[in-house]
Amino acid sequence: MNNQATNPNAPKITKETKNKIRVEFERTDAWTRFKLKYLTTKFLKQVLWVIFRLVLLVGISFVILSPLLSKIFSSFMGKEDFVDVTVKYIAKYPTLEMYRALITENHYAQAVLNTALLSVFCALVQTFICTLVGYGFAKFKFKFNKLLFFLVIFTMVIPQRTLKLSMFLNFKNFDFFALITAFLKMFGYEGNLTQSIFGINANTLNLLNTFWPVAILSLGGLAFKNGLYIFMMRQYFKGVPDELEESAYLDGSGVFRTFMTIIIPLSVPMMITIFLFAFSWQWTDMFYTELFFTKSSITMMPDIVKVIPKSLIDPYPGQSMREAAIKNTGTLLIIAPLVVIYLFCQRYLIAGIERSGIVG
């Protein structure tokens, strides 16, 4: 009980002020402490490990960043640099002509505007729909839950290219009764049921060159990689305790009200993660933009890199290298807004995924 008094080696404790105590004990001398702390194999191992880890991480970061850096360096090169053997990274004739030509001649501003409209809209819709659907799959036991979730996995596994032709044709001649028409087709029916029943003009049903095809797919959670988002959301909601909703139900809140007022505020970090994924993948997407925007008057992001600006076409020995650099400059322009957004949001991104707790 009274250890302090009986043990002569115990440190002496004196009370200085009301909140402060002073402990006096004998210290081992500095050299012994140093020896015990630093001159051990354990510490040596630790130091070696830290160095190894740092070298590895820096090396891999270099591998990730070096293509980006060399793209940035070559984007400032002038025409003469591409035939100069001594130039590797730093341009001898630095110029901004590539940026200038791409921005003015390839209508960069217009492409940014169009793509931003499409991406923001799609990402918002996809985030909400995937949250909704993921919640439905995670928290409700209804018939065919497993089977329907398998359909989500199916949409994830099927390569986009498989559906390229049919998707194009379907949205070129949109049909609300496409399920029936698809079967009628096998018996030689070539028409469009919506058109023949309601007498709508064929041009009205042509949804190409509008935002509708991507919007419709987003509304159903079937656009690019949406299966993954639904999957992530479902795993996240499986980790949310049921008691939370049950207490809300007991207080008389309906299922949808509970979802809107309790579940959504709870899952904001996860939703930001999904929004960022959806936004950046829609921003750099080529598949849908090329498939659904066939008119050249609508400038989307891929158009920036597809054509070399006229003022830069100039056949000379370095031209092929230069065209590669021009295209790379185009991609830099494309990802520039993304990188800015990413720098601001990456904190949320990792936090969101950490909270998702994706356990199989």
């Binding site: 970061s61 036991k141 399920l179 698809a182 087709k185 993954l228 997407d285 370095g318 590669a324 991609t331």
Partner: protein, 323 residues
């Protein structure tokens, strides 16, 4: 009245419980309604149509339209037996992908373990490692690819590094360390050496394809309770033992998720060689239907592979909580 009121709580509780379940089940349908509706009205017809087209021959009419003629499995036969390159591309592509998958999963697990440790600049490294997920998709991947093809065709006599061959940095590193020589002297069999060298040369593509997996592993590592590690260190387990006896079993569900994700991601990405080949066929005159047939064949193979890989991996998985 009074008696009824006393009885009713018991009764209504039971009835209320049952109807709540039913109501909840109905609400579940409402929640997945957007997906179901668009799937049935738009997506499923597209899938059916695509399968149907792959069984047809396309005749382009002079008015600009086209007509489909049912030809049965002719397109599939064409793809498998008449097209000399398809089977070759398919087998080499599959082999490459099957070799890449363990590399990606192991690499992302290793990096996740590293990035989970407390150190200076952890947030910066995490941010850098995630950059490829954002930028090496879609248009950027397409441009990189076309530029890489170009740089193979013209010999780049000028020393400019335009960042086109994305793997140039890793290639240079591998050469600088003369790894060929190093592994050659280790007497571990030329196949293994080739495999490791292939991975090192291709390290950029492996890194850029393992961003999402790394995040999933990180999330998994953070869900392991620190109490387990603490009790381990009290019992005197070394870090190596702790990894294999604690971390690895606890993270094994994530290994399944990541393996399946890697298979899906690398098979459906537009940059893999089979997809590119199918694309070139699509662009050819009358190649539409053949490319449809090819991609359905490819899809079946991917599905089978996911089944096999998932089956193998899931038999090794340890679930902490069974429900």
């Amino acid at each position: 009245m009074n008696r009824q009121a006393q009885l009713s709580p018991n009764l209504s509780k039971r009835r209320g419980g049952a109807s709540l379940d039913k109501r909840k089940a109905r609400a579940g349908w409402w929640f997945i309604m957007p997906f179901l509706l668009v799937f049935l009205l738009v997506y499923l017809p597209i899938v059916i149509d695509s399968i149907w087209v792959s069984l047809c021959e396309l005749k382009i009419l002079q008015g600009g339209g086209f007509k489909t003629n049912f030809v049965g499995l002719q397109n599939y036969r064409d793809a498998l037996f008449s097209d000399a390159n398809f089977v070759k591309t398919l087998t080499t592509g599959l082999k490459q992908l099957v070799l890449d998958i363990p590399a990606i999963v192991i690499f992302s697990l290793f990096m996740a373990v590293l990035l989970n440790q407390k150190m200076m600049g952890r947030a910066v490294f995490r941010a850098i490692f995630f950059i490829p997920v954002i930028i090496s998709t879609g248009i950027v991947a397409y441009v990189d690819q076309s530029n890489a093809m170009l740089s193979h065709m013209v010999d780049s006599s000028s020393g400019i590094d335009t960042g086109t061959g994305a793997e140039s940095a890793s290639e240079a590193m591998a050469n600088a360390a003369s790894l060929d020589w190093l592994f050659g002297n280790m007497k571990i069999g030329s196949e293994l050496t080739e495999y490791v060298m292939g991975i090192i040369r291709d390290v950029y593509s492996i890194i850029s394809r393992s961003g999402v997996q790394m995040l999933i592993f990180l999330a998994g590592l953070q869900s392991i309770s620190p109490a387990i590690y603490e009790s381990c260190s009290i019992d005197g387990a070394a870090a190596w033992e702790t990894f294999w006896k604690i971390t690895f079993p606890m993270i094994s569900p994530m290994i399944l998720v990541n393996t399946v994700y890697t298979v899906i991601d690398s098979f459906t990405s537009s940059t893999n060689s089979v997809m590119r080949y199918i694309d070139t066929i699509y662009e050819k005159v009358g190649g539409n239907v053949t490319s449809s047939a090819m991609s359905w064949l490819y899809f079946l193979i991917v599905l089978a592979l996911i089944g096999i890989v998932g089956g193998i991996v899931s038999s090794f998985i340890f679930y902490q909580r069974r429900d």
